[in-house]
Symmetry: C2
Subunit: 286 residues, 2 copies
């Protein structure tokens, strides 16, 4: 059996259409979506990335402001900037490009972002609301992985789900979001004794480790739904470079029923989820 490929690009495009319609409705109601991004001491690459993000927003009718701060900005100054944005009724969403310089405490600054304006879902309170089954804004990558699982139509209630990788941004929120769907979830990680024993019994496997080829067809149950969050740059024997996921695509597609490609799977949907969260924030504020 050859797996059906989960088309992240198509899913993202569909989401963007929906986002554009909702953004237009908000604008018509006099409440335009306005995302403000914070960039501290970014290099040229980071600035370029942020500018492109701005283009992506504007294309869907989302206003975008990039606030650039010098690398010397203090914790207090940046905190006050965030508090000012929290109060600014013209700003509906706030995001902070990472990494921040070492002298800044990322977690404390994320905690300062208003829970509703927190379009990346990184404020600990937003993670807590996911635990409370009261999700306001969930982290974008986790949300993307879960949306792609759902897009296959797999029955999640009672399903055996194995999440590989226990990161704060992906693994743990994915686990929590799938528990919310009443799946039985096992969270595996570097210290797991027998990873294969877990993945082999799973109806759904989500992998977010950052290790090329970690999960092969041998790790999978026949018919599993597999979502690959990993993005790894590898060098092939002939010296060319290639982007691959954590799942060995060729062997996995012989066992899985559904499988995301890398690139073209979770990546584009993550971008779309930031846009969707941005509209959601504005709707919640309305």
């Amino acid at each position: 059996m050859a797996a059906q490929i989960i088309d992240g690009i198509a899913f993202a495009n569909q989401t963007k259409q929906d986002v554009a319609a909702r953004a237009a409705a908000l604008k018509a109601a006099g409440k335009p979506v306005h995302l403000t991004a914070i960039l501290v001491g970014g290099d040229h690459g980071a600035e370029l990335y942020a500018e492109r993000q701005g283009d992506g927003c504007r294309a869907l009718g989302i206003d975008y402001t990039l606030l650039k701060f010098p690398v010397s900005i203090s914790q207090r100054e940046l905190k006050n900037e965030i508090r000012r944005l929290n109060k600014d009724v013209g700003v509906t969403g706030i995001m902070m490009h990472l990494p921040l310089p070492d002298h800044l405490d990322t977690a404390r600054l994320q905690y300062e972002i208003d829970v509703v304006k927190d379009v990346e879902g990184v404020n600990p309170a937003n993670i807590g609301y996911v635990v409370y089954k009261h999700t306001l804004i969930a982290p974008c990558t986790a949300l993307a992985a879960v949306e792609l699982v759902k897009s296959t139509g797999v029955q999640l209630r009672g399903a055996e789900v194995v999440v590989v990788g226990a990161s704060v941004i992906v693994g743990k929120p994915v686990a929590l979001l799938l528990i919310e769907q009443e799946a039985t979830v096992t969270l595996c990680h570097i210290a797991t004794r027998d990873l294969m024993a877990h993945t082999r019994r799973a109806d759904v496997v989500v992998v977010a480790v950052g290790k090329a080829g970690l999960i092969t067809g041998d790790h999978l149950k026949e018919g599993a739904v597999v979502v690959d969050v990993g993005i790894n740059r590898i060098t092939l024997p002939d010296g060319t470079r290639k982007t691959v996921g954590d799942v060995d695509f060729e062997s996995a597609k012989e066992k899985a029923s559904w499988l995301t490609p890398v690139p073209g799977g979770v990546g584009p949907v993550t971008v779309a989820m930031l846009l969707r969260n941005s509209v959601r924030s504005a709707e919640l504020l309305k």
Copy 2:
């Protein structure tokens, strides 16, 4: 093999001694621990319970104030009371007796409690901080269950842990706290297809469902560590009433290496964890 019994009362007493010493040190430094509890429209039983809690605090050198509000108090009024307590430098801890009357939004009010003064660890941000491996104040019952697991000396890194029950207050935070210890954690619940398959492979089982006799010796691997959070009142054939856990004690103790009794297991430790959290809040504020 007969399990060793995990003595919750002894653990609680030891914790209380530690709490008393830390509370005395804070008092000597001019920063006494002062827990303020909120009770809305409580009946006589609830008041009695709260007063007893106050006695327990004072016995360890923790000041305790019980604020009673009429059942008619509005969301805004109670929110303002919490905000006032947040700002009051003489108040080091805040807790809210539940349930609140139906017209009040419990989750939103818990979110108002200052994260450091939140001695019950119920503010979503505190749950989020647990996910972030940055725990400030964890929920008391979950903390009690995890402390009792740790008290057995079981190696948690890489251990197979099964948590039965996915409640917000116990199951999910227990799972998160044990992931923080690098255990491989599976969270089972009412929709789990084959509970026994999971519990039988577990080195550690934590049960928090509220169903007497749910887990028997048959569910356990030889030598498992078993912590029973359930508290159920049952009626025996002869009409007498008895308090039991979710684990069938007699059969489980033939398989487990360590087992908590009910009563005398997690219950007293939960009370002790509230006291320990109260001292921790005051120390964090210092």
